[in-house]
């Protein structure tokens, strides 16, 4: 486990990854304490629905009651971005979780057994990888009907093949190692060899990198939401909050930047969330790539 200590020390030493850790930590705190930071109003049934202050279309300036102002349709921006943090973690964690399980199962089957199984699984990944990701995700969401669930399904479908391939590659590398041969020699079942010997020695780097892809997943989900292919209207979701501002990019000629809060604030939350994960991911890549680390 000294490897882990070494890694953590490297991450804390590097100012960029330290910044990433701090940003992610802040978002975790926001997500956990959302009900305290932005308490749902009395009698509000679903806390993920952003409370509205009337139905007037024009966004209202930040005030004491709405510290980030309200966006189109009088949705409270502050409430939306705080609870949107939870939605972001929800989508990111669920997608990465499913994708990793699918990727590990199919990747290790393909890598360990090789032959026909490998060929079939790899050709299936070819099919999925033949589409530009967002286009396939759009098609799937449009076919299933726009909803948060469809977004999760779509993002899972488009991203599992790359992880399956990565893990297959990792397994291929350890398959010929002596300890695998040895455990097979003493009669261990294939299942046991994969679970106890092949996987633990092969996949940690891939799993770590994959977990840091949460940022990318959330970015893609936000893009789908922005395009109107995501959560239903009024759901606390950063992408949707950004799309509400589309009609309010330009204020009246006397004050062209009047609605800046509606345009910028939700996007800044997306940017910093993704940035946090990417900062950490970039540092990890350097640590995990020994060829570059030496120089």
């Amino acid at each position: 486990m000294s490897d882990w200590k070494f890694m953590v020390r490297q991450l804390v030493k590097n100012p960029l990854s330290l910044a990433g850790i701090i940003i992610i930590f802040i978002f975790v705190i926001i997500a956990i304490f959302a009900p305290l930071i932005a308490p749902p109003p009395e009698g509000h049934i679903d806390p993920y629905r952003i409370p509205r202050d009337g139905y007037f279309a024009t966004p209202q300036q930040p005030s004491e009651e709405h510290i980030f102002g309200t966006t189109e349709g009088q949705y409270d921006i502050f409430y939306g971005v705080i609870w949107g943090t939870r939605s972001a973690f929800h989508v990111g964690l669920v997608v990465i979780g499913i994708v990793l399980v699918v990727g590990i199962v199919l990747g290790s089957l393909a890598g360990y057994f090789g032959g026909v199984i490998d060929e079939i699984i790899m050709r299936i990944t070819d099919i999925f990888l033949a589409f530009p990701a967002l286009i396939l995700a759009m098609a799937i969401v449009a076919a299933l009907g726009p909803s948060l669930k469809s977004v999760i399904i779509a993002l899972t479908v488009v991203s599992w093949p790359s992880y399956a391939r990565l893990i297959r590659g990792d397994i291929l590398q350890v398959r010929e190692e002596d300890y695998i041969e040895a455990s097979r020699g003493i009669g261990a079942s294939n299942f046991r060899v994969i679970m106890r010997h092949a996987l633990p020695n092969a996949i940690y780097p891939t799993v770590v990198m994959a977990s840091l892809d949460i940022g990318a997943v959330v970015l893609a989900a936000a893009a789908l939401s922005f395009l109107g292919l995501g959560a239903p209207e009024g759901y606390a979701d950063w992408g949707q909050l950004t799309s509400f501002a589309r009609n309010w990019i330009v204020g009246p000629s006397s004050d062209p930047l009047r609605y800046w809060f509606a345009v910028t604030i939700p996007g800044l939350f997306i940017l910093f969330f993704v940035l946090g994960w990417n900062l950490l991911g970039d540092a990890f890549r350097d640590i995990l790539d020994p060829r570059l680390a030496r120089r």
């Binding site: 960029l16 050709r123 299936i124 070819d126 099919i127 999925f128 033949a130 589409f131 530009p132 990701a133 967002l134 286009i135 396939l136 759009m138 098609a139 799937i140 969401v141 449009a142 076919a143 299933l144 009907g145 940022g215 970015l219 936000a222 893009a223 922005f226 395009l227 109107g228 292919l229 992408g239 950004t242 799309s243 501002a245 589309r246 990019i249 330009v250 204020g251 000629s253 062209p256 930047l257 800046w260 345009v263 910028t264 939700p266 996007g267 997306i270 940017l271 993704v274 940035l275 990417n278 900062l279 970039d282 790539d289 060829r291 570059l292 120089r295």
Partner: protein
């Protein structure tokens, strides 16, 4: 010849992939009931009066494989379905919207590639110095940026704050009318190129004015990607023996970096051209949506939002075929650029 047999082998290998792609796309349409799927073929609202007859006519109550066969037959005869959003066949819609998107791509692609490679090289040449850290932070920032949000903020500043300086859409109204009029020949329907061919300065300037923001929006993320890739590839190449030799010969640092190291460092960059293409397609959908730049991406978005499944799937299929072909071309180019790559797929 070796290369020809390689290409032929690769083309044959494409067949199962494309077969899988079509099965997958068709599988998605099968999520819908026959009644819903009839609308893929309906071109006129009056036809809805006789749905059962239509279902029978198109064989929508047949088993999966029969329907798949019919569908593939239609596709091979060029019928991808009917695009409700624009009221024309999907295939025509793709051709109708393609020039607009090409106009964006023609400008964005060189900017992405050259700027990305230039900054990446500089970062590697100044490793661990302020320039390297600066570009690194820029790159991480760049690919954390939500493209759609960048577009909105750019519009807010350059369309709102600097009133009307860089507006959305493709052309301003008077220019649009001029372009549509008989005096203006639309050779390619790519405005900038047509304007040059027509020797029409005002249209050219207006088209460029409308292009600046979409190009920036489309380029930021991809540029960051190319830059980081060039950097790490350059670092590897700078540590090689031939670079040491070049330095020992007393060549200037500029020649060493730009000639000896970079030429070899670019090989891995070529391999990601496929990813770049996919990234551009994704970016085009978002960029065109924000700027109402009515190209293929805008059409795909409209179709998806209005649940026009025929168009969305037609577009997806078109892109999949294109993407697969791009990857094939990239692989062939790769063998040309790097003589060490042998066509069997192994590196010596």
């Amino acid at each position: 010849m070796e290369l020809r047999s390689y290409i032929i082998r690769r083309l044959i290998l494409l067949i199962p992939v494309l077969f899988g792609v079509t099965i997958f796309i068709f599988g998605i349409t099968m999520l819908f009931s026959p009644i819903e799927r009839v609308s893929l073929y309906v071109t006129d609202a009056r036809q809805f009066t006789n749905i059962p007859a239509l279902i029978e006519m198109y064989g929508l109550d047949q088993p999966f494989w029969v329907q798949y066969g019919n569908w593939m037959g239609e596709i091979f005869s060029g019928n991808l379905g009917w695009s409700r959003v624009v009221g024309m066949p999907v295939w025509d819609a793709i051709w109708h919207f393609l020039p607009t998107t090409l106009e964006l791509a023609i400008f964005a692609t060189p900017i992405i590639i050259f700027t990305g490679i230039f900054l990446g090289t500089q970062a590697a040449a100044h490793k661990d110095r302020p320039l390297d850290h600066g570009t690194r932070v820029m790159a991480i920032f760049g690919w954390s940026l939500p493209t759609f949000w960048v577009g909105l903020v750019l519009l807010m500043v350059f369309y709102g704050y600097f009133t009307g300086l860089l507006p959305p859409s493709r052309l301003s109204v008077p220019m649009e009318l001029l372009v549509q009029s008989a005096e203006f020949t639309r050779y390619t329907r790519i405005n900038t190129i047509d304007a040059i061919l027509n020797l029409n300065g005002p249209v050219l300037l207006d088209a460029l004015r409308h292009l600046i923001l979409p190009i920036i929006t489309l380029s930021v993320v991809q540029m960051a990607f190319i830059m980081r890739l060039t950097r790490s590839s350059m670092l590897e190449s700078l540590g090689k023996g031939y670079v040491l030799t070049a330095r020992a010969k007393g060549l200037s640092e500029r020649v060493v970096v730009n000639k000896h190291a970079r030429r070899n460092a670019l090989i891995p960059v070529i391999t990601v051209a496929g990813y770049l293409f996919a990234g551009m397609v994704n970016g085009v959908v978002i960029t065109e949506t924000i700027f109402t730049f009515k190209g293929i991406g805008w059409w795909a978005w409209q179709s998806a939002v209005r649940l026009d499944i025929a168009s969305v799937l037609g577009f997806a299929l078109f892109n999949a075929v294109l993407f697969v072909l791009v990857n094939l071309v990239v692989d062939i180019l790769y063998t040309r650029v790097d003589p060490r790559v042998r066509l069997g797929g192994t590196v010596q």
